[in-house]
């Protein structure tokens, strides 16, 4: 659906993007991950038709966006980090205006509005002036304006920034809902968020594609093995370490002393899923009481830092 081929963008002599290539299919949610200045925003702006590439092309269903920008723009919805809103307008008046700017007739916008209001979870706020809405609702209006014309590609730059935990949960639902029948690109610096919403993650570093894949694939590329878990048991730390080190398929064991007396814990890298399948069974058979088996919370952050370090 969207092919990004050898995308390069210079600001003066500085290369913000260098030979970036990737593709996106319909129905996919792509997570764009990168440190500040990595080239995320430049990539999104080029895809949204706000910037032209210095070199390379972006094809949207086979059409080059620089050769036919108007027809492509009509099929793209864009939400920047700060939602662009006319704050003196009501939600409905604003969405009608944007829909018509995107090429829809007044009749088409009117017919589409209920669906968009529901999708962006704006029910009850239709006639409220945008300037009086909370930050979370303004983000939703931002999303609604990005999808009012039923675009094939939706680009969301940091959609959850500034939202409280409850709003974040709501926004995740909205983003997942967007992927039905269209492609969605989400950029975020909150890495755990990317892993929760995206089907595939693109890691950009210094204007280049550092890695691409699912969270598990990225972990594998970062040399982390297929599985990393934290195992907490009732028992002695030294005995747990010894047992794990001797178990076939366990790659590394990093002791992680528990704060509670009588408990032991370790971060364990496993060779593959089959080792994970048998881990709890074997630990119990060895006489330990399994208290907790969990994935490390900072997994994605570590993978990301590892990948960006590799490229640098």
């Amino acid at each position: 659906m969207i092919e990004v081929i050898n995308l390069t963008r210079y600001y003066g002599s500085f290369a913000a993007l260098e030979g970036l290539s990737f593709s996106i299919d319909q129905g996919q949610i792509i997570g764009l991950l990168g440190l500040n200045g990595a080239g995320k925003s430049t990539t999104l702006k080029i895809l949204a038709g706000l910037l032209t590439p210095s070199e390379g092309t972006v094809r949207f269903n086979g059409v080059d966006i620089t050769e036919n920008p108007d027809s492509v723009r009509a099929q793209i919805g864009f939400l920047p980090e700060d939602p662009p809103l006319y704050r003196d307008m009501t939600v409905v008046a604003f969405l009608k205006h944007i829909g018509q700017l995107k090429g829809m007739s007044a009749k088409q916008v009117k017919a589409r509005l209920p669906e968009v209001i529901e999708l962006a979870q704006l029910k009850g706020r239709e006639n409220q002036v945008i300037g009086t809405l909370s930050h979370g609702y303004r983000k939703r209006v931002g999303i609604a304006q990005a999808v009012i014309h039923d675009p094939k590609l939706v680009i969301l730059d940091e959609p959850i920034s500034g939202l409280d935990p409850k709003q974040i949960v709501g926004m995740r639902e909205v983003i997942r809902g967007l992927a039905k029948g269209r492609a969605v690109i989400v950029s975020s610096h909150i890495l755990s968020e990317i892993s929760q919403t995206a089907d595939r993650i693109l890691v950009i570093n210094d204007g280049k594609l550092a890695a691409e894949g699912t969270e598990a694939e990225l972990a594998s590329k970062a040399g982390r093995g297929d599985q990393r878990v934290i195992l907490t048991v009732k028992g002695d730390q030294a005995a747990l370490n010894k047992f794990l080190e001797e178990k076939p398929g366990v790659l590394t064991v990093t002791p992680r002393p528990s704060k509670r007396a009588g408990f032991a814990a370790a971060i364990v890298d496993l060779k593959d899923d089959s080792v994970r399948d048998s881990l709890v069974h074997d630990v119990v058979r060895a006489g330990f009481v399994v208290w907790l088996l969990e994935a490390p919370e900072d997994e994605l952050e570590e993978i990301f830092l590892g990948l960006t370090k590799e490229v640098a």
Partner: protein, 250 residues
């Protein structure tokens, strides 16, 4: 044209839903009314024709001021509030954006002009003027308004800042630049008086006041004036479009 009208409708609603448009209208009508009372009507007896001419002379300055005040924020605010993204990611051409801004501001100028009609109407209390004189005078006022609006939009297109407070400053700067350009075009008339041919007639033709505006003030409709003001508006609107295109791809 459809997109230009959509943008114009949006800008018009911003003028009328906020307080800026009303403040500008209030100040311009107040100033124009006071000046009309003190200077155009005066104390002594005057011919109705002269009073009307005096009114259109005042309207020249006040319409220019209104044109600048209405447009100095027009594009800088879009950048400041980052709503320019809504326009640049839509299938809207740069000339449609500028045309929309122009139509909205000209609608406001037209409304302002209509609201000032009580002043020429007052002449009928003690005198008599022809309706065609009033009509032609107002055509001149709208022509000058068109130039002021075009130069104001051009001034506003010169700056781009994503920060709201900087965009407020750049709006003021845009207004000052527009005022300076208009003042320079008026000043050409004075320079023409101090210059010898062949430059004098050229400068006189290019000046915003006198040769081009005088006939309108006197109730004489001349195509040269319409062409002059139309061309000047077109040039500055084209320059504003170019500025917008440059910023879009920079």
């Amino acid at each position: 044209m459809r997109n230009a009208l959509l943008i114009a409708r949006r800008d018009l609603s911003a003028y009328l839903n906020g307080y800026v448009g009303y403040v500008i209208f209030f100040l311009i009508l107040l100033g124009e009314g006071l000046f009309f009372n003190f200077f155009a009507l005066g104390n002594g007896a005057q011919y109705s024709h002269d009073v009307l001419q005096g009114f259109f002379e005042l309207a020249f300055g006040f319409t220019i001021a209104a044109g600048i005040f209405l447009t100095m924020f027009s594009i800088t605010t879009e950048f400041g509030q980052r709503t320019d993204v809504l326009l640049t990611t839509s299938p809207v051409r740069d000339h449609e954006i500028i045309a929309g801004k122009y139509i909205a501001a000209m609608s406001m100028i037209t409304l302002l002009t209509v609201l000032s009609i009580y002043m020429p109407a007052l002449i009928f209390v003690n005198g008599k003027v022809s309706l065609s004189h009033i009509g032609v005078g107002y055509v001149g006022v709208l022509c000058v308004g068109s130039v002021a609006v075009s130069i104001g939009i051009f001034g506003s297109s010169l700056f781009r800042s994503d920060a709201m407070w900087i965009s407020a400053l750049t709006s003021l700067l845009a207004g000052l630049i527009a005022a300076f350009l208009i003042f320079a075009f008026i000043l050409l008339w004075w320079i023409a008086q101090k210059t010898d041919p062949p430059f004098a007639p050229i400068l006189e033709y290019a000046a915003l006041f006198d040769q081009q505006y005088q006939p309108f003030m006197e109730g004489r409709l001349r195509s040269t004036g319409l062409v002059f003001y139309g061309s000047l508006s077109f040039v500055f609107l084209t320059l504003a479009t170019r500025m917008l295109s440059m910023r879009r791809w920079s």
